[in-house]
């Protein structure tokens, strides 16, 4: 990144560096003064910096400290449980869905010439229906906000007399959305592979399903690993939506603490720091994996870059991770 953006300007000389230094010191002082009057003073006036509000969170000697962190620990554990379950189920369902869609696409060309005409038409009709249905599901669930999906799951299942724990509503809601996204990531990874891969597999006599399972899918996983990891970060962030169905995850516990101690700003600051720390390290992990993979490819002297199409869609998908 640095080397790419430094292409935009010359390396600053001594004069430029001096100007930068003085300018930043002046700007820093200006900012500090502004922050004092606009942020510190109003907060201080309402007593937001008092130990009464911060104590339970940061002072081990405080009477509430142990209880608060025990509750937060429960919340964090619940968040991690929900995230882990949602990640596993979305990966499994997403992979199956991707394989199914690829298979259906392959079968769409088949005419079943050896079978009786009626049976052949039946099979082709079944095939067509299935691909229309999966396509429809993908478009719908990819286009719906995940909050709405979770909300609908939590409201809709009891409507049919099926009730679970809140945990499962959250996991199902997250799985519906994320498995569709993961399926699309994997599918674009498989379609972005060079055509020779599938052709070579067919030439050595692999069945279509074998081709997908043994040739296409492993390569797609490899190429799309960074996009997959950032999608998993999204899942972790999205578990915070559990609060709308009152699942006891971190934010919900935070709300309960606020209800007792009445210190929203302090609690949310601590939670924000927690979330940033965990998600930032996960994103760094994704970058490290990406670097390692591209090095591995070069070292193995296979084609140096994944196909352009796969890269483009991967860029698009990883940019799309704006989902809360």
């Amino acid at each position: 990144m640095t080397q790419q953006s430094s292409v935009l300007y010359d390396v600053p000389g001594p004069r430029q560096r001096r100007i930068t230094l003085f300018g930043s010191v002046a700007a820093l002082i200006g900012l500090l003064v502004g922050a004092y009057f606009l942020i510190y003073q109003p907060l201080d006036e309402t007593g937001q910096f008092s130990m009464e509000l911060w104590g339970p969170l940061i002072d081990p000697g405080n009477e509430n400290f142990a209880l608060v962190w025990e509750r937060l620990g429960v919340g964090i554990r619940n968040t991690l449980i929900a995230a882990a379950l949602a990640i596993v189920t979305s990966l499994v369902v997403g992979t199956l869905l991707a394989v199914l869609r690829i298979q259906l696409k392959g079968l769409a060309q088949r005419r079943y010439a050896g079978l009786a005409p009626q049976l052949a038409y039946l099979l082709r009709g079944l095939n067509l229906t299935l691909s229309v249905v999966t396509r429809f599901c993908v478009e719908v669930f990819r286009g719906l906000p995940v909050v709405i999906t979770i909300f609908f799951v939590a409201r809709g299942f009891p409507e049919f007399g099926i009730t679970f724990d809140n945990l499962w509503y959250l996991v199902i809601g997250l799985t519906i959305y994320n498995s569709v996204v993961i399926a699309e990531i994997l599918r674009s990874g498989m379609q972005g592979l060079a055509g020779g891969q599938a052709e070579a597999a067919a030439a050595i006599g692999l069945a279509p399903l074998q081709t997908t399972r043994m040739i296409l899918l492993p390569q797609a996983f490899r190429i799309m690993l960074p996009a997959l990891i950032s999608q998993l970060v999204v899942v972790l962030k999205d578990t915070s939506l559990g609060f709308i169905i009152s699942y006891e995850e971190t934010l919900n516990i935070g709300k309960q603490i606020i209800g007792v101690l009445d210190n929203p700003i302090q609690v949310y600051t601590v939670l924000a720091v927690l979330f940033i720390a965990v998600n930032y390290s996960l994103s760094k992990l994704a970058q490290a994996v990406q670097r390692r993979l591209s090095r591995g490819r070069r070292a193995a002297d296979t084609p140096a870059q994944p196909p352009a199409a796969a890269l483009a869609s991967q860029a698009r998908i990883s940019e799309a991770n704006g989902d809360s």
Partner: protein, 235 residues
């Protein structure tokens, strides 16, 4: 199913409100995101650090927390976000001018959160411009601003339009959260209100709400796919 027809005006007004906040938030996020993107590629190291810190913070926070901060932090600062009561704008976007500040809080949260992703989309476009272009511009003696303005940005636009589009789609979906943060009458809150308070049957309401969101996201997604395919051919 009759609820879909009887309460059509409720659905329509919910849709309209969601559309309003998405429109405003998209404009705000594009402006703020461009500023952050310029900071992140600027020649001044402290500004670069500032931009990077902004992006890392907001990309790694759940939107929920950003919303909570807007809803609790701004009042604690003694602000009702009144600076968003822009005269003229509040005629079209009536919620900007009301005394209930939650629409403005939600708008601020959405803008702050989305700007980080807009910045990354723009920057990926800038990085996609071949290095030789900027080097040639520099060797002609163009300054950083001239370089961006005349050489790099016009070419980066093609590469960033698709990521930008996905960011906007994600933002539309994220806007569903505002109904759970005190904004009354948007699509997601309409769902809650009709089913729990209004006692309407669940399935038709769910279908109506889903259609409302899909109208916004699916055509935009299809358009992006088209643009992407055309770009792939052009390349």
């Amino acid at each position: 199913m009759s609820v879909l027809i009887d309460k059509f005006d409720v659905f329509a007004s919910g849709f309209w409100l969601t559309l309003q906040i998405c429109f405003l938030a998209a404009i705000g996020a594009l402006i703020l995101g461009s500023v952050v993107a310029v900071l992140r590629i600027s020649p001044v190291p402290p500004l670069r650090a500032l931009g990077t810190a902004y992006v890392n913070t907001f990309r790694n926070l759940p939107l929920t927390i950003v919303m909570f901060f807007a809803a609790f932090g701004l009042p604690a600062l003694g602000s009702n976000a009144d600076f968003l009561r822009i005269p003229g704008l509040d005629i079209v976007f009536s919620r900007l001018g009301t005394d209930l500040p939650y629409f403005r809080f939600a708008l601020i949260a959405l803008v702050l959160y989305t700007a980080a992703f807009v910045c990354e989309a723009l920057r990926s476009g800038v990085n996609a411009v071949p290095a030789g272009q900027a080097e040639a511009a520099r060797s002609l003696g163009l300054t950083f601003i001239q370089n961006l303005r005349h050489v790099v940005l016009p070419q980066s636009w093609t590469a960033s339009v698709v990521p930008l589009g996905s960011v906007i789609i994600a933002m539309i979906k994220n806007s569903a959260l505002i109904g759970f943060f005190g904004v009354i009458g948007d699509l997601s809150q309409t769902a809650d209100q009709l089913t729990s308070a209004g006692g309407e049957p669940f399935i038709p309401v769910a279908i109506g709400i889903s259609i409302g969101y899909l109208i916004m996201t699916v055509p935009l997604g299809a358009l992006l796919d088209r643009v992407e395919r055309r770009q792939a051919v052009a390349r």
